[in-house]
């Protein structure tokens, strides 16, 4: 019974981590848009290349933040949460 409970817990943690990473779609689309527009801008005005590149990298980094939140949550779910939850479960049984 205990094995089953721990197994379900680990499985759900892994599933949750996978679900959390769906958030990777958003930054992907956003950064793609940003880079596409930056390419257009450089094509139109090649002399503004350095300024456009700097601004684009900044924007990409900010757009990436949501994806990184999801990543942190996924990493917590995989590496930290199972140990905590198993400890809580064992304490509850005792």
């Amino acid at each position: 019974m205990l094995e089953l409970a721990i197994g379900i817990m680990l499985g759900l943690c892994a599933l949750g981590a996978g679900c959390a990473m769906i958030a990777g779609i958003g930054p992907g689309i956003g950064e793609g848009n940003a880079v596409a527009k930056a390419c257009e801008a450089i094509g139109r005005q090649p002399e503004s290349r350095s300024a456009v590149t700097t601004t684009m990298l900044m924007g990409c980094a900010v757009a990436e933040t949501t994806g990184l939140y999801a990543l942190v949550i996924a990493i917590l779910l995989i590496f930290v949460a199972p140990g905590r939850f198993v400890d809580i479960l064992l304490a509850a049984i005792k």
């Binding site: 990298l57 900044m58 980094a61 990436e64 933040t65 990184l68 939140y69 990543l71 942190v72």
Partner: protein
């Protein structure tokens, strides 16, 4: 070219040694004290010891030790670059040092305005610390920036500075800024205020950490693949992970070099933008003039 005195040479060698020594020390500490894992595993910083403190134990971990080593190394690198600096006489290192200072000052002036020119050393320090901490993973040491505590410390520092510069126009002005554009949005404004340092810390930490996690996963996959393909070879040849030689270096080029340097630049850039955006010079000057007026009337 001026004559180099003996004292100058001695100082030179001393500074160079002190620049390299912390990194060597870090590698030695890692080899001696951090237990090597037999498989490939993903773990946080190794904890050297816990010190008992009243509220919670103070943990001295690899990340802290490494970040101190980076600081010492950077300090002596700066001393080396500015050693024997003079007006007009351009040694190679003086050109490099002047280029660094001028670049950072120009960056700060462009992004924050003339009022904040004094911020150049702070921005340069954050950028150098972040870049060198991330580059530490090239030597096989634990990069301090992939520990949330270190980056959160820097982000907290930036948060204090943002609050200080918002307070500079008066505490009332600061409190009023939460009630804009309409008062009932105040909770959201408070959340967005707190979210600034959190997002800064998580952005830096997540980027570096994801790089190291992916590197480890690729290394594990390549090891498994070698075992599958070349496992039939006799003796140690069958055990040796041939595919792990060289291939992860290309990933390291992106995740360690490019990502680390880019994140250092972005962290410094966001620091400048947030601090610059927190302070409006017109309000400050208006407040000062008001103060002078009230003083002169009384």
């Amino acid at each position: 070219m001026p004559e180099k005195t003996t004292a100058f040479k001695v100082r030179d060698i001393l500074f160079l040694i002190m620049t390299v020594l912390p990194i060597v020390c870090g590698i030695v500490i890692r080899v001696l004290f951090v237990p090597s894992s037999d498989g490939i595993e993903i773990s946080g910083a190794h904890i050297f010891f816990n010190m008992d403190f009243p509220v919670s134990p103070l943990i001295i971990s690899e990340a802290q030790v490494n970040s101190w080593l980076v600081m010492i190394s950077l300090l002596f690198l700066c001393l080396y670059l500015t050693n024997g600096i003079k007006e007009n006489i351009h040694t190679k290192r003086q050109v490099i040092a002047e280029w660094i200072v001028e670049t950072v000052e120009k960056l700060v002036k462009d992004n924050m305005g003339d009022y904040f020119t004094g911020f150049a050393p702070f921005v340069a320090a954050i950028m150098a610390l972040s870049a060198f901490s991330s580059l530490m993973s090239l030597t096989g040491m634990f990069p301090p920036t992939s520990d949330l505590n270190i980056v959160a410390g820097w982000a907290f520092l930036v948060f204090i500075l943002i609050t200080y510069y918002k307070m500079k126009c008066g505490p009332l002005h600061y409190l009023k800024s939460f009630a804009e554009p309409v008062p009932f949005l105040a909770p959201l404004n408070i959340i967005s205020e707190v979210a600034t340092p959190i997002s800064m810390a998580f952005r830096h930490y997540g980027n570096i950490l994801s790089g190291s996690v992916i590197s480890v996963l690729i290394a594990a996959a390549l090891q498994g693949l070698t075992h599958l393909v070349l496992g039939w070879l006799p003796g140690w040849l069958g055990e040796f992970p041939f595919l792990r030689v060289g291939i992860p270096a290309f990933l390291s080029l992106y995740f360690d070099l490019f990502s680390g340097l880019l994140q250092a630049f972005i962290f410094a850039m966001l620091t400048m933008l947030y601090i610059g955006g927190a302070f409006s010079l017109e309000d400050y000057i208006a407040r000062k003039q008001k103060k002078i007026k009230t003083k002169s009337t009384t």
